[in-house]
């Protein structure tokens, strides 16, 4: 097959100049056969299974990267929620299981391993309680383990006991990792409507409906979209949407190719492509800058929600045709510390927590990687989680909260996490107290699905 020169150079420019990459190849590994009454045996089984199944994951990713010439930034693993795997253990402390995940992840060379998770949308089992209580120490003593807790869903309502507890767990995790600017909290997500096939961290886990092993791929490319939009300056918004769609199609085709190849070479099943536009702190790889290219002076100002809604929708429309299976979170991510444009918008005072909350109604995930003052109370964090979960529950979408209350730091100060996690200015939190609401506990009933006004 012969190619048009423009097509060839378009592709190479996307890679060399506009940060086109495949963000992550995430291998899902079921640990359902690792249960044992003795937690040390369980830990060993977990370690052995991960090391066997993912032995060639990193090498395969590197081979594909070399052949196709497109960077594959991360190779990761997601596992069955550990609350289910640990439930048969007689021990109540699941930290040894987190250590086993950490050790196995490092052995096979991945940069994160997700699944130190519990799903408590409607209530707790023994394993859920043990897991959640183990989170602060687990995130303190491990390096690459990520944790997530699902506290609600459209079908179940919101577990307010869990919402209350997660506010406390986030505070405890921050305090245990205070010497690292509360880095533990950057690896902990609270979900509503959690998805079983998400390849992105920190919220990846392998859901119970998933196969023994599976390859899920997350694409990226905010820089490519931003660059494509530079060619339609002055055009109407329909033209902008059309350009985003076409660009998303091309980006997703690369993800699809990588996913198929990886699944074939690892002798496993291709799961899904996650059509998320995932930013990085690198210049030219920002979702905020796309919104500014569309015509906002600064992300966070009036017009932000509308432009983001259009962007998110157009990315999905373009990506859907490019891939045979789409899933995961699929939308534009707006993690503050991981996006140069978002960081700037917070620093200049244009982007507030309340506007971020509005943005999460129309795009992927939620309040993500947001540094808040260290003196924010557990009840306030719980209330932020409740608000965000309510948006997810009512709008039938995934929402999440990953906030970092940085001990000893206040509004205007910066916190540095390093690498892909980036850095963030600490954002102001409304200080009126929700304490009595949070203290009630109980469950918010599942919402009515008609009369939708």
């Amino acid at each position: 097959m012969l190619f048009n020169l423009d097509d060839i150079f378009e592709t190479t420019r996307m890679i060399t100049e506009h940060n086109l990459d495949v963000r992550t190849i995430t291998m899902g590994i079921s640990l359902r056969d690792c249960c044992h009454p003795d937690i040390n045996v369980t830990a060993q089984k977990i370690y052995d299974k991960i090391c066997t199944k993912a032995e060639k994951l990193v090498r395969t990713g590197e081979d594909i990267e070399a052949e196709l010439g497109v960077p594959i930034i991360n190779k990761r693993i997601s596992v069955t929620p550990i609350s289910m795997v640990g439930e048969s253990c007689t021990a109540n402390d699941y930290v040894p299981l987190a250590r086993a995940l950490d050790k196995a992840g490092k052995q096979v060379g991945v940069n994160f391993i997700g699944g130190f998770s519990a799903l408590v949308d409607k209530g707790y089992t023994k394993g859920d309680i043990n897991l959640i209580n183990s989170i602060p120490e687990a995130l303190d003593v491990t390096d690459i383990v990520c944790s997530s807790v699902s506290v609600g869903s459209t079908k179940c309502g919101i577990n307010m006991d869990a919402v209350k507890q997660m506010g406390e767990i986030i505070k405890m995790t921050a305090s245990r990792t205070a010497d690292r600017d509360a880095l533990g909290c950057a690896k902990l997500v609270v979900f509503c409507n959690a998805v079983p096939d998400n390849p992105f961290m920190a919220g990846a886990f392998l859901g119970v409906t998933e196969p023994e092993t599976v390859i899920n791929v997350g694409v990226s490319g905010p820089g490519v979209v931003k660059h494509a939009l530079e060619s339609v300056r002055g055009g109407d918004i329909g033209e902008v949407a059309e350009t985003i769609k076409k660009t998303a199609f091309k980006i997703t085709r690369v993800g699809q190719l990588v996913a198929q190849e990886a699944a074939k070479r690892l002798n496993t099943q291709f799961g899904i492509i996650d059509l998320s536009l995932a930013p990085t702190p690198a210049i030219g790889d920002s979702v905020a800058h796309i919104l500014e290219e569309i015509g906002l002076e600064c992300c966070g100002g009036p017009g932000t929600t509308a432009t983001l809604a259009m962007l998110n929708d157009a990315v999905k429309k373009g990506g859907l045709m490019a891939s045979s299976y789409v899933g995961g979170l699929s939308g534009a991510f707006i993690p503050v510390s991981e996006d140069a444009g978002m960081i700037h918008a917070v620093e200049c005072g244009c982007l507030t927590l309340e506007k971020l909350e509005a943005m999460t109604c129309v795009c992927s995930v939620g309040l993500d990687m947001i540094a808040i003052p260290g003196d924010t109370s557990a009840a306030t964090i719980s209330a932020i989680i409740a608000d965000e979960a309510a948006i997810g529950m009512i709008n039938n979408k995934t929402t999440a909260v990953r906030v970092i209350p940085v001990p000893g730091k206040g509004v205007g100060e910066n916190v540095e996490f390093g690498g892909l996690l980036g850095y963030a200015p600490i954002i102001k939190v409304n200080t009126y107290k929700p304490d009595k609401f949070i203290a009630r506990g109980g469950r918010i009933p599942a919402p009515v699905r008609s009369l939708t006004n």
């Binding site: 190619f3 150079f9 592709t11 190479t12 070399a66 052949e67 196709l68 010439g69 190719l257």
Partner: protein
């Protein structure tokens, strides 16, 4: 496997010769060449077949990158699959 090589940089004498020579050393067969010079800037795309190559694609990529540095142009070598995925439905 078929490869796409892209070569861009300032025009000078002997770019095609040196690139072809290096490919021949690795037993990589050139199928198609498309080249032009715009404002003194050299742009070339080569389609090649590496089924009988005596090196791996990774080594070929590294060898071409090194050659590019010696000549003073940028040479990228990739499987054609990524271009098919992106530009053909």
């Amino acid at each position: 496997m078929r490869l796409v090589l892209t070569i861009v940089g300032e025009d000078k004498v002997g770019i095609i010769a040196k690139v072809s020579n290096k490919l021949a050393e690795m037993n990589i067969n050139v199928i198609n060449v498309n080249q032009n010079i715009l404002n003194g800037f050299f742009n070339m795309v080569m389609l090649a077949d590496m089924d009988k190559a005596n090196v791996s694609i990774k080594d070929a990529r590294d060898a071409m990158k090194k050659l590019g540095e010696e000549i003073g142009v940028e040479i990228r070598l990739q499987s054609e699959e990524i271009f098919i995925a992106m530009h053909r439905i």
